[in-house]
Subunit: 240 residues, 2 copies
Amino acid sequence: MHRFYVPDLPHEGALVALSDQEARHLTQVLRLELGDQVRVFDGRGRQHEARVEVAARQRAEVRVGAEAAAAPEVPVRLALAAALLKGDKFDDVVRDAAMLGVHVVHPLVTARTEVPAARAGKVSRVERWKRVSLNSVKQCGRAVVPDIEEPQTLADALTHLPRPLIALVEPSLAAGTSALPQRPDTATVLVGPEGGWSPAEVEALVAAGATLFSLGGRTLRADAAPLVALTALLWEWKAL
Amino acid sequence: MHRFYVPDLPHEGALVALSDQEARHLTQVLRLELGDQVRVFDGRGRQHEARVEVAARQRAEVRVGAEAAAAPEVPVRLALAAALLKGDKFDDVVRDAAMLGVHVVHPLVTARTEVPAARAGKVSRVERWKRVSLNSVKQCGRAVVPDIEEPQTLADALTHLPRPLIALVEPSLAAGTSALPQRPDTATVLVGPEGGWSPAEVEALVAAGATLFSLGGRTLRADAAPLVALTALLWEWKAL
């Protein structure tokens, strides 16, 4: 069943127009027609059945039907605070985080982040990650679209990230601190850049109360580390 | 420290020539010179220090030095039997499996595999996956290069895959069979294609004694499912 994102989703029985982008997808990519059954979701957890009532060149309207269950949300409200990566690799981080059930992604500019600050903060990049997040949600069946915050420094982020903080670190730093918290209601998972956290950042993480944990002796690719860390934690908490 | 693959690695003190591909990498990509320190590994777990003694245009020889510890191997000898995927996505499956510590990858042709059989079995594809596996190993620090078997059907594979078998299935099928085995010495993780296992394949898995497990309610991308499944199991076994 094809699913479309309608942020201002009206109640059952109402007729609603899709955004230009979603309308083009419905009419030109999927070539749906009058009467076709679809689903619409508001990005905050609500999803309904719907029926196509207008499918013109670049315009589409659907009649909202009964509520329809979306994929269940993870029972932990998870934030991912991950360092920006080179090239387009952060796209994959956003995509994987949305798939695994994260609620918000905080891109971090860290001491060893190898992305020019000017590029990191470009509005177009944040908009792009929001699209990546939405597309991933459509694929995995969630009705919640993770938000993408503006990139910020680790120091700034530490002042307001949801607690508890759980930071992925090198095995040598995690020794003796392997006691992860019991399943919390909210949590932030922090993952560093290709070159890892600087010593000062590790100190700042500890000072902020973060639990340091590691994922064994093999070096994970920076773009895969968030997915592996999130999976391990969700499995640990029986929340996957 | 740059690492090079030397399958027939001689003992300490010997001089050894790198393969054409590894030699080009040393001389033309990394531009290493006489006297530079590197490491060499044999793909089966042995790694040594080494020093460049010949670095010509397409030729490189190194003097083997003392043994050097590689990244520790996972304490479970893991096979991944994963269905072939469309496009180049199986490259990512191989890359991630090598990173996480798998010992061998068995590409599967399943009922719903959407890859033409002719293409699936092309020798050049297996050779390509072997290169992907090697490159991933170089990045993650292992000295063991996972082998890639020829693609085969699930039925053929089930006759000889290492036991216990642990198959990722839809949540509806895993109910009541969530009891994973205690950490074994060997195991095979089985993951289906984009469209999942056919009912007959699920029956064949059960008949072969496989434990069925699932990863919750959100739909995982087929190319990410093996990484998520392997991570969850290795974490469960405290083997990551």
